[in-house]
Symmetry: C2
Subunit: 408 residues, 2 copies
């Protein structure tokens, strides 16, 4: 038999299940493969021999529809980091022995930067050991949009749509009282400001929100921030600020960070840049201030997913299967935006070597941020605009969205 | 001429513009009235002579559709409290002089408890002064659902839908890691727990979120809370808690203030109830904990409004106009749930004397809260269930919801 294995890893998005669905569909339509198994909780599921038969669970195209439309990760996630090959070769032997036993000929790993690190290490091991019959392919996802060598990442468009849509609702809510006010919305994105920058799509004319946008790409000054807000309050009564959770001062220190807390990858845990700035406005300017954190809803709100995003996520899953059939390995599938004559949005599906991608971060280019550091340019708007387009028909029952829950 | 005047007041909801639209439609269809004017920023607009001609702005039924579907308040709001008649009679004279000059024969005021206080005072003044040609009618709205003598209030159903839908998304997001976790969602409602209680609709079976629900109606004990969470963590890995912002201890003190915590300057740290409880879980139990505040999105998220709610809000606006034509005054329009044979949801539109309503609060009945104080009963579920039903087709352009903004 020739089987496939797929896993999901990292933080959830509204599109990662669409990529899983595309992968399952790709295997089902393939004449090369028999069964596709799903790893529960990413690599952890492999070490615990905790897998499910996805070919059985999703027997046809129709059964995949609820999966495509559901947020989070059907297979569960992990934050597992594979050690370096020379640190613990036994782990690698265990992985490839597992592949051999289950006749796994292709392994697809859907995730962000850390997951691509796993794809890179496994494919490098296979190469070093001359294992030529397992194709290892990464499928990107991250609401942060911070992977290099792909135009954008699945999950980003849906998160951007939620963020921009919610900024519109906040602006309208905010503008009804005849007293001056400042609303500060904190948006996810530790290192890259893509999602915060996308809040600009809420802007219908030059007067609409967001009025100030702060990204981690530009060193943040509290003094300048207060001046920026004061200037805005001279122009209008109601100011909406979009701020990335990852903003840092000129010394690289997060505007709000708990130095004692670290996650499994040794990353600092961020909390409360927006709260910090709201307190600052309240103290220094004294107007009515409110802090709103979009929190996990920005990555989980499938009821407001972008159709473009989910379609592309699905197609990338399909593409990964096709590329494995062409004996490609050690790659991440990617999206390239085509140069069209009329400027319309069209993409091409391809792949790049995963070693060129893992552990690198794609930031918002500085030339897409305005010189005053508190807004973005037309180029950025043109880049993000097509990614949020189209609505996905949510399945409602009794007035509430119905989702496929992750496996227990 | 015989004109009408309408104003909006208090906090925004997703349905208050639907009530405004119903009122405008009612006046347009009436043969008794000529023009309907809108007060900008509620009573403040009257004192500043800041009104708009709504008959001109919304010339037909179609023009009202974007208004119905937009959150917040088209006319703007205020937090104005009318003084008692014997404190400042001049203000009352000014109001009725304004009515006389603009030939206002009916005044509709859409709002919550404070707005009903205004309706009550104005109608009592009219009665005392034998002013018989102005009909003063309140139209309820509040996401808190805390007005008495009406089955429920417009705005509540849409907020409940957003809260329950978001709890579903949080639960799914939350359940993907193989480590125990507690997510605490803080929901609006300072005095009444209706909205927090509605989170129960997210529950698809006995194992689904929310697993614990805390309302302001029951005195809150931190010790019991920790025991409740521990018990839940024995049953399941991922616990979702819905907590009202207004929970108080047995002495009536809000949980949002932690007397033991001080900042670097020795000042008390004010935080939300949810944040406070998340810190407590983290400290006492030590599992992964996250705090989510729905914040203003729960009242502004028109993209997830309840069809039942918006329809009822619209009809209550229509009903207010009809009742004014029957010479009714000093009333608030209301909704009564019918006793149907098959238990299906049907309502009747009526009215009650506003003096019986103003300044009173309808709490969740204690018999609708389980004995252990951390869940709600089947009766509550049956009560809320019909109110979130039906979806409203949001107007999207370029992938984002388009709303009618409040007047500048």
């Amino acid at each position: 038999m020739k089987n496939c294995l797929v896993g999901q890893s990292g933080g959830p998005t509204a599109a990662i299940n669409a990529s899983l669905a595309g992968t399952i569909a790709g295997v089902r339509l393939s004449t090369n493969y028999d069964i596709i198994y799903g790893l529960k909780h990413g690599m952890e599921g492999l070490f615990k021999d905790d897998i499910v038969n996805l070919t059985e669970i999703f027997p046809d195209e129709e059964s995949l529809i609820p999966l495509i439309k559901s947020p989070s990760m059907y297979l569960g996630s992990c934050r597992y980091k594979l050690p370096e090959m020379d640190e613990d070769e036994k782990i690698y032997e265990k992985v490839f022995e597992y592949f051999r036993v289950h006749e796994i000929k292709a392994f697809f790993y859907i995730g962000g930067n850390d997951s691509m690190d796993t794809v890179k290490k496994l494919s490098e091991y296979a190469k070093a050991k001359n294992i030529n019959d397992v194709y290892i392919i990464g499928i990107p996802k991250t609401i942060d949009n911070d992977l290099i060598l792909t135009d954008h990442t699945p999950g980003f468009g849906s998160a951007a749509k939620y963020v921009a849509g919610s900024i519109r609702e906040i602006e309208i809510d905010n503008s009804i009282y005849a007293v001056k006010s400042v609303n500060i919305a904190e948006i996810m994105g530790r290192d890259a400001g893509w999602l915060t920058a996308s809040s600009v799509l809420a802007r219908e004319d030059k007067d609409s929100a967001p009025h100030l946008i702060y990204l981690p790409e530009v060193p943040f000054s509290k003094e300048k921030f207060i001046e920026d807000v004061k200037r805005q309050l001279e122009i209008r009564d109601h100011v909406v600020v979009a701020v990335s959770e990852g903003i840092r001062d000129e010394n690289g220190a997060y505007i709000s960070v708990d130095p004692d807390k670290k996650d499994a990858f040794g990353h600092e845990i961020l909390a409360g840049a927006g709260k910090n700035l709201a307190d600052l406005v309240s103290e220094k300017i004294g107007v009515k201030t409110r802090f709103i954190e979009f929190n996990i809803l920005q990555r989980a709100a499938s009821h407001m997913a972008s159709e473009v995003d989910l379609k592309e996520a699905y197609k990338q899953g399909r593409n990964a299967v096709s590329l494995s059939e062409m004996f490609r390995t050690g790659i991440m599938v990617n999206i390239t935006r085509k140069d069209t004559e009329d400027g319309s949005y069209e993409v091409e599906y391809g792949a790049v070597p995963v070693c060129d991608i893992a552990n690198k971060v794609k930031n918002v280019p500085l030339e897409w941020i305005t010189e005053d550091g508190c807004d973005v340019t037309e180029e950025l708007i043109e880049y993000v605009k097509p990614l949020v387009k189209g609505e996905v028909e949510t399945i409602y029952k009794d007035g509430l969205p119905v989702y496929l829950k992750p496996l227990p």
